[in-house]
Symmetry: C2
Subunit: 273 residues, 2 copies
C-alpha cells in the first residue's frame, strides 16, 4: 500500500483530515513529562494515545528533536506509532533538500532510519534533487510549494512565465515529477487564494496545510479553497493549538478535546462547501 | 571575530581557498577505520590532522551522519577541529530551511548543539525564514543560490523581472538580507557563467563553490569567474576527490597529497587571473 492510499484510509477510518504536529519544546512540557528520562517520548505517547482515533496523520518536526540531541526520542515516537497505531501514517517534517548521493542519505534518514511514511522536502534544488526520495514509491514526498510565513512570497510569489513561481512549481510537481504518484504539496492556510490556484493546477494531489491555529489561517477559507473534487485531499496540520491545549497535568485530555473540536469543525465545514 | 573574518584569516594563514568536505560513507572507509568503535570520527580525525595546514575550512555534510545515527561522531568531529585547530572554521552543510520557531530550532542545532561556525541554508521560504540564523551575527549563513546539479536550473534559472531567479536571490541576499554582514552564497563550479553573474551582483560576498572534482567543474573557469576584486572571496570545496584519494591504509597521506595539489593548482590559477 503506498502512502497516499494509507493516508486516505486513515482519513476515512477516523473521518478526519486533521494531522497533529508533534513538535515538543522542553520548556513548554508539563512538569510530569519534564521529569521523565525521555520527556519528549513521554509527552508524545500521551498525546498519541489521546488522539489516535481522531487524526489522519502525525507530523513530528525533526528540528525540535535535533536541537537538543533527542534523535532517540523521535525514533521511539515514530516506532510507537508504527507499532501501536499502524494505520496512522507518519509524515517526518524535515524539509530536506540536497543533490545526488547526499539526497540519497537524507532519504535513508527519513525512510529507513526513522521509518517515516512520508517526508517534507524543499524543491529549490530542482527535480533531480527529489529523485532519491521519489524513487521510494511506497513513501510520500511532500514538496514545499507556498509556505505559510509572511516572507513565503519573497521567492515563491515572483512571476515566471506569467504565473507565480509556486504555481509553476505545482505544475512541474503534478506533471513531470509525479511518475510514482507519491507527491503531495505544502500550501499554507494563511493563503487561501493561492491554495485555490494550486488546487486548480494539481487536480486531486493531496495538500498538506499548516498554519491554522497559532498562525491564524482561516479554516472555512481553507476548505472552500482546498478540497478536491471528492471533498477530500487535504491534510490540515495543527501543532501548538493541540499539543499545548493545556500546560497542566490534563494536557493529553485537553489535546484530545482540542483535536476533537478541530476535526469536527473541519467536517462541519466540509459538508457545507 | 565573526565568521567571514575567521574564514579570511584561515585563507591567509594557510594560503588556501580550499575547503574539504567531510562526508564519510561506511562502505567507502578504509578497513582500519571501519573496525574502529567510531569509524567516521577515526576517519575524519586522520583526514583533519593530514590537511589542517592546507585548508581554509572544513565542511561536514550532516546527512552522511544522520542517515546512520552517527550524530555523536559529527559532534566529536567538530569538537576535535574546534579544539585542535581553532583557526579553521567549520561549515555545517545541512541546507536547513523552515519558519519561525522551527527555524530557531535548526539554528540552535547548527550553532549551539554542533558549535559550527557557519551553516548552509535553503532560501525557498524567504527572508524571514533566514532571520533566526542571521541573528547569530558571529556565525556565517551560507545561502543556496545556483546549485551544481543538472536540475539546479529547474527553479533557479527561471526568469523573473528580466533576470534568472538565482540572480534575483543573490541581489536580495546581498542587499536586504545582509544587515549583519554574515551571508555567503553557494554557486556550483559547474556553472562558471552564472558564477560570474553572481559575482557582479554581490560585490565581495564570499562564495562557497562545490562541484570541482567528482562533479566535473572546471577550476580555471571558476577562478576566472568567481574571484572578488582582491583575488579572493571563494571557498572551493572538494569532498570525494580528497577524502577518498586512496581507499587503502595510506588514505590520510593520499588525502594530504590531493589537498596540496588542489590548493596549489588554485593558487597558480589565482595568480594568472
Amino acid at each position: 500500500m503506498n502512502f497516499i492510499e494509507k493516508l486516505e484510509r486513515a482519513q476515512e477510518k477516523n473521518n478526519s483530515l486533521l494531522c497533529v504536529g508533534l513538535d515538543p519544546s522542553l520548556e513548554r512540557l508539563p512538569e510530569a513529562c519534564r521529569l521523565e528520562p525521555q520527556p519528549y517520548l513521554a509527552f508524545n505517547r500521551a498525546l498519541i494515545n489521546a488522539t489516535a482515533d481522531l487524526v489522519c496523520a502525525y507530523k513530528p518536526q525533526i528540528a525540535h528533536y535535533a536541537a537538543c540531541g533527542a534523535e532517540a526520542e523521535l525514533l521511539a515516537t515514530i516506532g510507537y506509532i508504527n507499532e501501536k497505531y499502524p494505520d496512522i501514517p507518519v509524515i517526518l517534517d524535515a524539509k530536506r533538500g540536497d543533490i545526488g548521493s547526499t539526497a540519497e542519505k537524507y532519504a535513508i534518514e527519513a525512510f529507513e532510519r526513522y521509518q517515516a511514511d512520508a517526508v517534507t522536502v524543499n524543491p529549490y534544488l530542482g527535480g533531480d534533487s527529489l529523485e532519491p526520495f521519489l524513487k521510494y514509491n511506497e513513501k510520500g514526498v511532500v514538496i514545499l510549494c507556498r509556505t505559510s510565513n509572511p516572507g513565503g512570497g519573497d521567492l515563491q510569489s515572483l512571476e515566471v512565465d506569467g504565473e507565480a513561481l509556486y504555481l509553476k512549481l505545482a505544475r512541474l510537481a503534478a506533471t513531470s515529477w509525479n511518475r510514482n504518484r507519491n507527491i503531495l504539496l505544502v500550501v499554507g492556510a494563511t493563503w487561501p487564494n493561492e491554495l485555490a490556484r494550486v488546487r486548480e493546477v494539481v487536480g486531486d494531489i493531496p495538500l498538506l496545510v499548516p498554519g491554522v491555529g497559532a498562525q491564524g489561517g482561516d479554516l472555512a477559507a481553507v476548505l472552500q479553497a482546498g478540497l478536491d473534487c471528492r471533498g477530500a485531499g487535504l491534510v490540515i496540520n495543527s501543532s501548538r493549538g493541540i499539543i499545548y491545549a493545556s500546560s497542566g497535568e490534563d494536557f493529553a485530555e485537553a489535546a484530545r478535546q482540542a483535536a476533537l473540536e478541530l476535526r469536527d469543525a473541519i467536517n462541519t465545514l466540509r459538508t457545507n462547501v
